[in-house]
Symmetry: C2
């Protein structure tokens, strides 16, 4: 298992971060340190540990996690979905708390995949999840994705192709980051959300294909319409089956250091996921879960998210303004305008590769002192058609001045190699 998990892009990237510590980082996917809820966590912890529940939050929790957080999360999810009835009737046992959403992604993958099985992914997709797929020996197959997210028609066509090749039985999962995705800032459009569920259901005739909706950036929404989740369209089919696994996290919207993620699972996945988690750790941090439950219950969490949205919106605007200022006169450079999340996705001329070994990466890190994430990491590494000329630019960590300066440096590097 360790062999399969080795050599992941995140490792190279972190190594590059260490080796190029003098660079401004447009690479790190960290959240903004200035908006971390230090006072709120201090007050909440003091309150929790000053009450009669104090001892219980320092004791072992249970493998699925704190009942109080799962209950409060269910009510909060009902609000997010604007459809309290369906979500409020969700059995609590379908909600599982994990060590960040990363652990949920892994547990679901360990549950569904045998080595050689297939996962369909957006192109581009979250590169860390490609590493998870490698780790469990699954093959990632890219599905055409545009500014409205993964194309249902392309997903359907790919499943048809796999069926024609007798490979349909190896398909276990479709993975989609549904809101302001990592790496491209793309959201799946309202119109496509139910259609993705329909396609998965259509091809689940002889077997059960799941769709893992990674909604990590759901709450980092700055403008444009608010979409219900893909999960919300997953009504039980004729056999009573459901298909969508919803993954959310408090890392981006609150604090990564607490490591609290949450999954909503179709009933049949609950036991196998908990069996694995029980072997893994008996349950994630109980104190952290109770801190999150308290702020979610009190309304302080919602106020914090509002502040975050304002702050990130300003940083998103700063990055887009700097892109206009420094890149608009470089021919054939384009970028997406995200409504949320932490990333701007930039495409360079096709003749300009951006990978770790490229002239651009070396020039950027050594001369101009700025780091980015090479876009090619965000496609399956065995896909020969993967674009080599893209970059993921994050406005998460730097302040607006740092963002502008980083973009200025990056444009200088790009100009030097174009």
């Amino acid at each position: 298992m360790a062999d399969r998990a080795s050599g992941q892009a995140i490792g190279f990237l972190m190594q590059q971060g260490i080796e190029n510590a003098d660079c401004l980082s447009l690479a790190a996917g960290f959240v903004d340190p200035d908006t971390l809820p230090v006072d709120l966590v201090r007050q909440t912890t003091a309150k929790l540990l000053g009450e009669s529940v104090g001892k219980s939050v320092l004791q072992y929790g249970t493998t699925p996690g704190s009942d109080s957080l799962r209950e409060v999360f269910r009510a909060y999810l009902a609000e997010l979905e604007n459809d309290s009835l369906q979500v409020e009737s969700l059995p609590l046992n379908r909600i599982v708390l994990t060590t960040g959403s990363q652990q949920l992604l892994l547990l679901v993958s360990q549950t569904l995949f045998n080595p050689g099985d297939i996962c369909l992914v957006a192109a581009p997709t979250y590169f860390v999840y490609l590493g998870v797929l490698d780790g469990v020996g699954a093959k990632a197959i890219p599905v055409t994705t545009d500014e409205n997210g993964m194309c249902p028609e392309a997903l359907d066509a790919e499943l048809q192709r796999l069926s024609d090749e007798g490979q349909l039985h190896r398909v276990k999962l479709v993975y989609v980051v549904s809101y302001h995705d990592n790496p491209a800032g793309i959201s799946v459009s309202a119109e496509r959300r139910p259609r993705l569920v329909d396609v998965v259901r259509k091809w689940s005739d002889g077997q059960h294909i799941f769709l893992l909706e990674d909604a990590a950036y759901r709450e980092l929404h700055y403008d444009g319409p608010v979409q219900p989740s893909i999960f919300s369209y997953d009504l039980p089919d004729d056999d009573g089956r459901q298909h969508v696994i919803l993954s959310q996290t408090f890392s981006k919207s609150f604090s990564p250091g607490l490591r609290v993620g949450v999954g909503v699972l179709p009933q049949e996945l609950v036991k196998p996921v908990l069996d694995l988690k029980s072997n893994e750790d008996f349950g994630s941090g109980h104190l952290s879960q109770n801190v999150v439950a308290t702020v979610l219950q009190s309304g302080a969490y919602r106020r914090h998210v509002s502040l975050l949205q304002q702050s990130y919106k300003g940083k998103r605007d700063a990055m887009l303004a700097a892109a206009d200022e420094f890149f608009s006169d470089i021919p054939d450079v384009t970028w997406l305008h995200p409504n949320g999340g932490l990333y701007v996705w930039m495409t360079l001329p096709e003749t300009v590769p951006t990978g770790f070994d490229s002239e651009l990466f070396k020039r950027a890190t050594h001369t101009d002192k700025v780091m980015y994430v090479p876009g090619e990491l965000c496609y399956p590494s065995d896909w020969d058609q993967r674009p080599r000329n893209q970059m993921r630019l994050s406005y998460g960590v730097l302040d607006t001045e740092g963002i502008r300066e980083g973009m200025r440096r990056l444009a200088s590097a790009v100009r030097a190699v174009v």
Copy 2:
């Protein structure tokens, strides 16, 4: 993977706990709620989040965990080993922080075992680890164990037998809970510690066999001599190799709700374990790690452990006194006298089985309202010679009155079925 992880004893046991919630529990391995460091964690968190480091502890940490905790732990380990020189020169990168020590046990197992590989375990052993071995498809083979812990001669003989059968290449690990073990309260004697390392080294000629020293109960030591770890005898062999993986945890000695475990790995295991952990969660809770670092640095942790030792010693004495009071007139009932840990191991007449399906278990839970852990769970389930007439009795959760009452009830149930 989920299939292999299913059907573990811990699941049955927790279910029994839920179904028999009206029972006094001598089963739960939880720590004493009255000694949880509520005030200390409250003050420490307030301090941490009031300082300039506040933001960093709410941010992502790194996969191996907080440098500050790893540094303070190294100094603390040097103290524990009474041999500061060797431990203080340990490279920091050999220390890995996990979500409780359970995650370390799993990551090491995922690293070392392919399905069909072999792990040698004490008999009895920690039943949750037997579940981990099932989960990775490894076979557990019991090694004769007495009141001085696993017998080196028996380990040597078992390895000889496996070698004779051409199975030596499948042996990857020897698992030993070295201090006041779960379930029997047994410590490996001083004289056997270096000899276990010698046996592992002797049979590592054609391959590399590791010894996983689970020192979870190391600090719950109440009387008798203090032993250095087995790890401390693991000097590099002629090829510079080391064999012992040391696992410790702050769950038993401080707070399980923080989920902070720590492992010291031979150099060659560092990268594979971190590759797996990176896919799992990018690192465990950063806030929790910093809380532990702060109390370990300030000395507050040591004072807390002293209080714990006094409290548990009183409870251990209460359980042994109650055993004398209620069981000494029942023929052929014996029990061990632990110097530490949380458990008393009791053996009934051979004709009295203790399993979930036994008359005794039903009588105890339904009539006398007391729960225990059936001893047979603590042996490999495919071992046809496993004893069926033992019980693990925990004095962790109940107070001294509850312990006495629990033992009174249990004796009543035993008398009824003998």
